[in-house]
Symmetry: C2
Subunit: 294 residues, 2 copies
């Protein structure tokens, strides 16, 4: 009797060149498959896995890209320290049912003489855009490149990076890219910390402090739900909550915004987004929650 | 007996929406056709016609877009005065064998809330880019949009707009757009004036003066061919030639550059480009010639 387990997932193919991925996608299309795409920077966690599973559940032939994009890191940011865990990532892609992993080197994405950039507009001029100048230019540019390389029918992004998701949806609409963007729920650790590849860079003490962000957002949600209407007072209470849990954490921003325009909200009503970014040590973390008000 | 002439061209379909053009392109692909694309701002002349004919000769199902793109005109430029001649354009498209004409309105190309832009790099920071700030951002953005809307296999551009052609080739390469760019020869009037939609805006006297640009480029070519090696002296002679023919014309630039990088050339050798821009009245004209040296 064959001792191999049933329903074992095939090892996904790993390709490194534009030529090879286009050929693989062309073959899949020739077999009548639609293409689902999950662009990542690797160090995959359950959030990423949920995106891959969303694509395979939608019955797409699923491509995962793993590429730590240098142009979306500022000169003083953590490009060099960003976690790289390829063997574990490949296992996660296989378990989640991905057919292909695209792992390009820099010159494949940024060919010699590269100089064209895709720049977002007003959506990038707030929140993370203020403290990470150029970040969303790097994001839009690399995502446009990857979209043109893979040419997927559908691409999956997580709602943890809410501003990124909005900017990419806007880019796709503005540039008329023939791609459907699907946003998937933010996935949290058991205690509420938003899943992030950067969480692995926290030591035990920092891991405890990191929870201050989620707790601050929850405080804002509770205040809104209990009828408080002054966003100024709510944000002050959120800051106090964060400071109490983690006095050493540096708050980049805590804000209450319109979930479509990211404009700050003065009179909260309908659906609002509470979002924030903090630095714990040299690790920058973001989080957000949506709240439905009467 | 049927009195209809043989080989009469079908009237090309005219569509105005992204939805309709995608449906038409999808049908053509379903019939095994490849797609050729000629983006224009209308006011078609023999230069444009040569691009459409190049596409039909390559046996592509050929789409011509006619769209005077507002974002590539500066606030003091001739957007309002740019010639619009749709009926004649349709006839020219039919004669040249185009299958479809795409004539979008602004909100179809720039949807409400539009804010994403495609920006070129160093190639746009010289020549026309210096006197038309933002022009090539508008060009790259609208061409990226049109490429994503039409999704052609091949797109045709004229060498009259040499800097534009280089920037678009660079954009396609940098963003990995799956499109082949074909550059076609510059087409001239009998006396040497480069074909341009803007030529129709010249009165009789201006039309005579406009020739100063071509004559200046020819002077530069002759000087290079005769062994002159100082580009400074050559450009001074070109300026004198232009001033002699048209004292009232305003020279924007006359330059000798590397045809791939547009970097000014000090020691001319191999293939060089002589390029220039002049204003005659309120009409801005450009031209260029390639010269092969030992």
């Amino acid at each position: 009797m064959d001792s191999k387990p049933q329903n074992v997932r095939q090892e996904p193919a790993v390709v490194t060149t534009v030529k090879d991925i286009r050929e693989a996608v062309r073959r899949a299309r020739g077999q009548g498959r639609t293409i689902g795409f999950v662009p990542t920077m690797g160090a995959l966690h359950r959030g990423h896995v949920s995106l891959i599973e969303a694509s395979t559940k939608d019955r797409h032939w699923t491509v995962v890209s793993i590429y730590v994009n240098p142009t979306q890191f500022g000169p003083n940011e953590d490009f060099a320290k960003y976690p790289r865990t390829f063997d574990a990532d490949r296992d996660a892609c296989r378990s989640a049912g991905a057919e292909l992993i695209f792992v390009p080197q820099d010159p494949e994405i940024y060919p010699p003489g590269d100089q064209t950039r895709v720049i977002p507009g007003a959506l990038a001029e707030t929140m993370c855009g203020l403290s990470r100048p150029g970040h969303f230019v790097g994001v839009c540019t690399v995502v446009a490149k990857l979209f043109n390389i893979v040419q997927p029918d559908v691409a999956y992004f997580g709602r943890k990076d809410a501003q990124q998701a909005l900017i990419i949806q806007r880019m796709v609409r503005d540039l008329h890219m023939p791609i459907n963007i699907v946003l998937c729920p933010l996935i949290r650790e058991r205690d509420g910390l938003a899943m992030s590849s950067r969480n692995t860079r926290l030591d035990t003490e920092q891991r405890a402090q990191a929870l201050c962000l989620h707790k601050a957002l929850c405080r804002g949600r509770d205040d809104l739900k209990s009828g408080e209407t002054s966003t100024g007072r709510i944000i002050a209470a959120m800051r106090a909550t964060a400071a109490e849990i983690a006095p050493a954490a540096v708050i980049d921003y805590l804000t209450i915004v319109d979930p479509q325009t990211l404009a700050p909200i003065v009179k909260p009503t309908g659906r609002v987004m509470i979002a924030g970014a903090v630095r714990v040590g040299d690790v920058r973390l973001i989080d957000n929650i949506l709240v439905d008000l009467p």
